[in-house]
């Protein structure tokens, strides 16, 4: 067991637009161990999708990423493109948000699944077919043989998402990055897909789940990182985060989710204002305009990272006392 499986240090992701450079991700550092599930939580404009797109060189043409991204010790963003090429699609797999976008409409499921391994010369056609069936069974796809012959539009939403996950699992990756995998699904189907992801995690797969749904996070994550305005504002093991959030944003977010088991109140505890648009640069903490615990210092100075054990928080006035800012 070497170091962490994925290590990101001071990652910046920015885009060149006619209106100037827009920074979507600012100085983000995080780690992921083997077999661990990290949930990346954030609302729109928080940069959560761009963080991983940037780490794996999947940005749009106008985007660029700067910083250190090490997968199993090898630098992916360095001048040598080889490590990234080797790793992407084999040891690291990504599942996009809308399964319809991940699947090619005019190819059968069988073709799309085997393409992934045939392309790389990893397996021959016979073995690829066998692996496809195995993988479809592991994602609990009903009637896998029939599905192989079908086209994406013949599958239901939940089945398409399962097929997309299966595609990602074909090369037996060490890391799966799933961007909002259950957002477009019904809640009953969501429960089944989460079960599939949990089983994969139990078999040793490291999982990054990008989502805004805190219920989903609670069900599957080992650790949670909360993003706001392009930065990670808090990260902690899941139980500690839910039991006692340190960052006011995390606390406010948790409070604004209506829960079935909570007492009914007249008003939902929302957060005033709206999430900042990407690229809007504030001198101090990005959350200061909306924060109930804001001070003068918050408006002018970027909060440093405080750490205690597994927990990190970037806040001048955290709700839970951690160490001093580094």
């Amino acid at each position: 067991m070497g170091g962490p499986l994925l290590e990101i240090r001071n990652l910046d992701v920015a885009f060149a637009t006619p209106r100037g450079t827009v920074r979507a991700v600012r100085e983000v550092s995080l780690e992921l161990r083997r077999g661990e599930c990290l949930a990346l939580v954030g609302e729109s404009g928080s940069g959560k999708s761009q963080l991983f797109l940037g780490s794996f060189g999947l940005l749009a043409a106008s985007g660029f990423a700067r910083g250190t991204v090490r997968f199993d010790g090898r630098e992916l963003l360095g001048p040598d493109p080889a490590p990234l090429r080797e790793v992407l699609g084999t040891r690291v797999a990504m599942v996009a948000q809308d399964p319809m976008n991940a699947l090619t409409p005019h190819l059968t499921i069988a073709r799309q699944l085997s393409e992934v391994v045939l392309e790389r010369g990893v397996l021959d056609a016979e073995a690829a077919k066998k692996r496809s069936l195995e993988v479809l069974r592991s994602v609990r796809m009903p009637d896998p043989e029939a599905r192989l012959r079908q086209y994406p539009h013949e599958l239901s939403g939940g089945q398409r998402q399962r097929a997309a996950i299966a595609m990602a699992l074909m090369t037996q990756p060490d890391l799966l990055v799933a961007d909002e995998p259950t957002t477009a699904l019904d809640v009953t189907v969501q429960a089944q897909v989460l079960e599939v992801l949990r089983e994969a995690r139990d078999r040793g797969l490291a999982l990054v789940l990008i989502t805004h749904d805190l219920g989903v996070v609670a069900g599957i994550a080992d650790r949670v990182a909360v993003m706001y305005g392009g930065r990670i504002v808090e990260s902690a093991p899941v139980r500690e985060l839910f039991a006692g959030p340190a960052h006011p944003y995390t606390a406010a977010l948790l409070a604004s989710v209506p829960r079935l088991d909570a007492a009914l109140t007249r008003r939902l505890a929302g957060i005033e204002g709206q999430p900042p648009r990407p690229g809007v640069e504030a001198p101090g903490c990005a959350f200061a305009p909306r924060c109930p615990a804001t001070t003068e210092q918050c408006r002018v100075a970027q909060p440093g990272l405080r750490a205690a054990g597994e927990r990190r928080v970037a806040c001048h006035t955290p709700l839970v006392r951690l160490g001093e800012p580094s």
Partner: protein, 294 residues
């Protein structure tokens, strides 16, 4: 106040302003636009610069068809009948542009109205309206124009009516496709839920949102119409004497290509420049009006 932001600055002007900005940033399109403008100005002003009238035969020349020269004032030379080509080329350009603009205007008005209505109504009404378009499409166009010309004589108005009457068909198809897509959008459902009558929805919500493709297609139609008019002239069916058009001039010049090449050169150069510039401009407009937000 929850959710509100202070009114800092002004609106960015909406989608039209956005398009204008994109267009201005496109150098080729701007250059093309300048060329078109120059040609239009030249067409309007040109004939006034020369002392010669459009049908004045210069008997002092021998032979009558003389090459361009600066001293005798025939800057583009003269045609086989001794008429000054400079004046004739720019007058011809006026006529070509006029026909093109009017014909395109007719196409746009009829095409947008027909297509937007068919697309919005959908169902059977759409079916009938577009079948009518299909039937008209099948008519032999040239045949139709020739018959009209024979029956009604070769008047300018007839020409652009004939061209416009056929040009609207493609415009209608394009607009109908756009309208069909727009119909599914939620803001159209919202307008229906307000109880707005169909004609108001078409006018206020469908048409403004199809103008993008319409403008692009119209700009690209203008050169097509000029070419078609030229073709008619080539066949001898275009405008009548003493009026002339670029097409007629090219047709006449082509006959004298070996002995008096300047008669072909001037009108062809102007025609080519006009068509090229209009196409570039049309392309630039299409890029600018592409509704992709930043």
């Amino acid at each position: 106040m929850a959710g509100s932001i202070p009114a800092s600055g002004t609106s960015d002007g909406g989608l039209w302003a956005d398009a204008r900005r994109r267009l201005i940033g496109n150098r080729a399109a701007v250059a093309a636009g300048v060329v078109v403008l120059l040609l239009v100005v030249a067409a309007l002003v040109g004939p006034m610069l020369s002392p010669y009238a459009i049908d004045h035969v210069d008997w002092t020349l021998s032979p009558l068809a003389s090459p361009p020269s600066l001293d005798n004032g025939h800057w583009f030379g003269t045609d086989s009948n001794g008429r000054d080509l400079f004046v004739r080329v720019w007058s011809g350009t006026q006529v070509s542009l006029l026909v093109a603009l009017l014909a395109t205007a007719v196409s746009v008005v009829i095409g947008v109205a027909w297509g937007a209505t068919a697309g919005y109504l959908g169902g059977r009404a759409d079916g009938w309206m577009m079948r009518a378009v299909d039937v008209l499409y099948a008519l032999p166009y040239m045949f139709f124009v020739i018959i009209l010309t024979v029956v009604f004589g070769r008047s300018l108005w007839l020409i652009f009516l004939a061209i416009g009457a056929v040009g609207w068909l493609t415009m209608a198809r394009i607009v109908r496709g756009q309208a069909l897509a727009l119909r599914q959008r939620e803001f159209v459902a919202a307008a229906v839920a307000l109880g707005l009558p169909a004609h108001r929805i078409i006018a206020r919500h469908i048409v403004p949102n199809v103008l993008g493709p319409v403008i692009v297609y119209a700009t690209l139609t203008v050169p097509q119409v000029i070419l078609f008019e030229s073709f008619l002239s080539f066949l001898g069916l275009g405008v009548q004497e003493p009026l002339t058009s670029l097409g007629r001039l090219v047709a006449e010049g082509a006959l004298e290509m070996e002995t008096a090449p300047w008669q072909l050169l001037a009108p062809s150069a102007v025609l080519a420049a006009l068509l090229l510039a209009l196409n570039f401009l049309g392309d630039g407009l299409r890029d600018a009006l592409d509704p992709r937000q930043g």
